[in-house]
């Protein structure tokens, strides 16, 4: 292939030496951004990121010590932007979370779309300070700003066939370098059972620390289910589909033995790699050690959703 190309290429320039078009365009965007900033103007994307939200305080997590904004926005698992923890903060800089619409489809009265601005008006925005436990054995405390997922479900008007909800994340290999590599089966798919989705703790987050979501945290809208492992929180949601069958999520496809559909935080269900009985709290310092992980991440009120279920089997 390479030889063949050379023969037909009298200039002697190797294809590998030519700047790929998307990189070339990215450079132009960077230059434009620099130019705009110099002129005292802001790009829409940057204006979006600086936006402060109007929200109500709530009692959730009042007793918790918050993980710093710096740590929350620099240590992320967001494989569409790379598998390293620092990759998303770096690679998502040029990602444009606006304009944004979410498709609502499947078992609903009528398929429709909803814009991010309209979504943010479905219910008053609330601050929810939640613990987030990652399956990898670390945790944070994050002051999310969002609205109950229930508000969107009510608006969507699902039919009686809707037993589960599937969340499909935005997938654009051109602007998401990680999505060019098949580490996971793209697009990222997550799911919840209908009653889990209606639970009042389950929110669609549109911000954190009082401002709109930074790109690396899943802008413009992501799922937050605080009693489940972090990977359940699909980021940059582009489609919400009401379905009858249990969705086959990206991590289940990657390794069904390691990642179950429920993925409830449970110190008694171990993972083949990581200790699940304890966790490291991000930002606690080098000598802080580990803290005990609690069933359902300490959100005991969700226990009734799983009454009579074998949590060892349905992990």
């Amino acid at each position: 292939m390479l030889l063949d190309n050379n023969r037909r290429n009298p200039s002697g320039i190797l294809p590998s030496e030519i700047t790929p078009q998307d990189l070339f365009e990215q450079r132009r965007t960077v230059l434009k951004a620099a130019g705009a900033a110099a002129a005292g103007l802001l790009l829409p994307a940057q204006a979006y990121a600086a936006q402060t939200l109007d929200f109500q305080k709530t009692a959730f997590g009042k007793e918790e010590k918050l993980t710093s904004f710096e740590d929350v926005t620099s240590y992320n698992n967001y494989y569409e932007f790379g598998t390293g923890k620092e990759d998303p903060a770096r690679e998502a800089v040029l990602f444009k979370p606006t304009p944004w619409t979410i498709k609502i489809e499947g078992a609903v009265k009528q398929s429709k779309t909803i814009g991010i601005e309209q979504l943010m008006k479905l219910a008053p925005l609330e601050e929810r300070i939640y613990r987030m436990r990652c399956v990898e054995g670390w945790s944070m405390v994050i002051p999310w700003v969002g609205l109950p997922l229930k508000a969107l479900i009510d608006w969507a008007q699902p039919t009686g066939n809707a037993k589960y909800i599937e969340f499909i994340s935005y997938n654009d290999p051109r602007h998401m370098p990680g999505a060019r590599i098949p580490v996971l089966d793209w697009p990222y798919i997550e799911g919840l059972r209908m009653d889990e989705a209606m639970q009042s703790l389950t929110i669609l987050a549109v911000g954190l620390y009082g401002k709109v979501l930074p790109n690396q945290n899943g802008a413009p809208v992501r799922l937050v289910v605080p009693w489940k492992y972090g990977f359940k929180g699909a980021k940059a949601i582009s489609t919400i589909r009401f379905v009858e069958q249990m969705p086959h999520t990206s991590w289940m496809k990657a390794s069904a033995r390691e990642y179950g559909f429920y993925a409830n935080v449970n110190p008694a269900v171990d993972h083949p790699r990581w200790t699940q009985s304890s966790e490291k709290r991000i930002g606690a310092g080098l000598f802080a050690g580990r803290i005990k992980t609690r069933l359902f991440n300490g959100y005991d009120e969700v226990g009734q959703l799983y009454a009579g279920m074998d949590l060892q089997k349905n992990f």
């Binding site: 710096e70 740590d71 620099s74 240590y75 494989y79 598998t83 923890k85 620092e86 990898e136 670390w138 590599i181 580490v183 996971l184 990657a254 171990d270 083949p272 790699r273 990581w274 200790t275 009985s277 304890s278 490291k280 991000i282 930002g283 310092g285 080098l286 000598f287 050690g289 580990r290």
Partner: protein, 222 residues
């Protein structure tokens, strides 16, 4: 990126210049200088960690950062020590053998830092949790096994042991191959999904083993 790593690692003129400079020295000085270089080089990663630790530069998860860094450097020194024998036969510089032990001991030093970080900073010497972690998680188990196997090698690395054990010393130190395999398994099984790094280190290990094959065959014949 790959091309850059390749150029930096296998920059033959640079390597040749260094070797020529070393070759011009007397045998004793040559070994001394190379040892000084290795000592200086080996102190860089740990000094960097200490510096980053004091300047709040270890990121959101400092324990993980130190575990990864020390683990990676232990693996690098393991590969460097395995590289000496093929390099000797390729360059015909028999004296290079004099620095192999130093590289092996630095592997041991970084492995000790790695394990200390795990036992102390990660698990605060909570032996019950540590025992559970080792038994339940295959990657921790093979890592622990690798560390145990390095102990007899480090303990018999001095001249007296070499003399006392004679031919048995050579057989004993073949354990380094087993350690290499265990350490690579440790790395593979620890990674969640993106196996790029373990693949790269495994390929290097395989290359070093392949380069040894002629030596193995020669030794078998004689």
């Amino acid at each position: 990126m790959q091309a850059w790593i390749y150029r930096k690692t296998f920059n033959m003129p640079m390597m040749q210049n260094l070797l020529q400079w070393l070759a011009a020295l007397s045998a004793k000085n040559r070994i001394l200088w190379l040892k000084v270089l290795i000592w200086l080089g080996a102190f860089i990663p740990v000094s960097r960690l200490i510096y980053l630790g004091f300047t709040d530069g270890l990121g959101a998860n400092p324990v993980e950062f130190i575990e990864r860094s020390t683990g990676t450097w232990a693996l690098v020194f393991l590969l460097l020590s395995l590289g000496i024998t093929p390099l000797r036969s390729l360059t015909q510089q028999a004296w290079l053998i004099a620095v192999r032990r130093l590289l092996g001991l630095w592997m041991f030093a970084y492995a000790c830092l790695h394990v200390t970080t795990y036992l102390w900073l990660d698990y605060q010497f909570d032996w019950v949790d540590i025992a559970k972690d080792i038994v339940k998680h295959p990657y921790v188990l093979v890592g622990a096994a690798a560390l145990l196997l390095t102990l007899p090698l480090a303990a018999t690395s001095h001249q007296r042991a070499i003399k006392a054990l004679k031919q048995r010393w050579k057989s004993l130190h073949k354990l380094v191959y087993v350690i290499g395999v265990l350490v690579l398994l440790h790395f593979w099984w620890l990674v969640k999904k993106d196996v790029t790094e373990p693949v790269m280190y495994s390929l290097l290990f395989a290359l070093l083993i392949t380069l040894r094959l002629p030596i193995f065959i020669k030794n078998r014949k004689s």
